[in-house]
Subunit: 240 residues, 2 copies
Amino acid sequence: MINKSSPIPIYHQLEERIKTEIEEGSLKSGDLLPSEREYAETFKISRMTVRQAISNLVSNGYVYRKKGTGTFVSQKKFEQILPGLTSFTEDMKRRGMVPSNELVEFSILPAPEEVAHALDIKNSESVYKIERIRLADNFPMALETTFVSKHRIEGITEEIAHTSLYEYFESTLNLNIDHATQLIESSIINSEEKKLLHMKTGDPVLLIQRTTYLDDGTPLEFVKSVYRADRYRFMIDMKR
Amino acid sequence: MINKSSPIPIYHQLEERIKTEIEEGSLKSGDLLPSEREYAETFKISRMTVRQAISNLVSNGYVYRKKGTGTFVSQKKFEQILPGLTSFTEDMKRRGMVPSNELVEFSILPAPEEVAHALDIKNSESVYKIERIRLADNFPMALETTFVSKHRIEGITEEIAHTSLYEYFESTLNLNIDHATQLIESSIINSEEKKLLHMKTGDPVLLIQRTTYLDDGTPLEFVKSVYRADRYRFMIDMKR
DNA sequence: GAGTGGTCTAGACCACCCC
DNA sequence: GGGTGGTCTAGACCACTCC
């Protein structure tokens, strides 16, 4: 159950164990968990280690603590758990669709004002511009334009633009994407985008501007997206 | 600097101290913080207590840790920090506007299907229905319909509906609002809402459906909102 | 009063990074 | 090799809740 000589931290083993019990139903919504001291004695580990495991479960919304009373399983429905920041590719896969891209433009140019500001670089600096139609099950869902500082990130190719940029950033470059700010607004499709997305005048679209940051706070990419409102709804979970 | 006999936890005092140093500029973006052992010795406290303070700062995005190297101040621009889940009232105040409400409907009725599902109650159960035009600087921004289980929450009055429901939940009832899921989509104004928001046919709107939860996972309220797209853009910050 | 989570201590060993 | 954060221990006292 808990392997003390494993390279996997004990708190993480306990965390996964409890998580499994919740997901498999042996711990149900509203149930009282064993106390921290009980866990500590059962597994012959320190109470502080137990606390670290439970604190992580609290952060992830699996359980909540009540002072002087105990720790309980949350009511949350885990089948509809919402992930945090996701890429288009991940998003569509999660919705059970097959994502693909059509490259509209791949170029390197001096950063436009708005882009330079978002990426916190000078106007003269070179950026990649990657414009793609993003499809799900071969149906156009969005038009997405990504800007990345060429000085910060090297080696983006058309090849990579055809798959997932996030995967390239994280798996190949080993960058730690930490968070993103997004500006979401409702609008009407404009004439340029109309054809690319197979829409007609007056159709509503969801405009999303995203700036993605690494854990040290450096902006990684600036993305402007136009989503077909009839095909795409944005879902988020926010902490108070 | 650090008062050990204060009722305020030591980790929280240290946390606030470091936060102040960052905000006032004595610790700048990219700066290396004193090591955990250094803090511990300086303030004659345990390293675990220091770690608790720094862990909270990491969660809030103020600093980040690099294994084997140290802890650094993030690049984040704190003047534009984005808060988490906010109410309309808080949101507008933060944007420098004066929020107000116009009550359109205040009633108690059996929960419609969609509402019952969101609040996890039976169809027959009574719910408050509070429909309000939400104004900023006396200009209509949104039409908002809130549903709250009458069985769970008692004592909502028209009086309260004229101010802030969140304030009532948190300050008066001492409820802990934990998080909310939101479904955001782009649409075109419909004929019923057109007049109330002073809009015309074909104008784009932002539709937001929100379910707010307490820390034990109980749904507190279900809200459907229609925002004027020309006046309102939604801004969020998401963790990866 | 007994049990719970919240805070705190004074150590320890590890893997990792940089010199 | 020396310093850093990551993990872990075996205690302790507190405030709080419930009986």
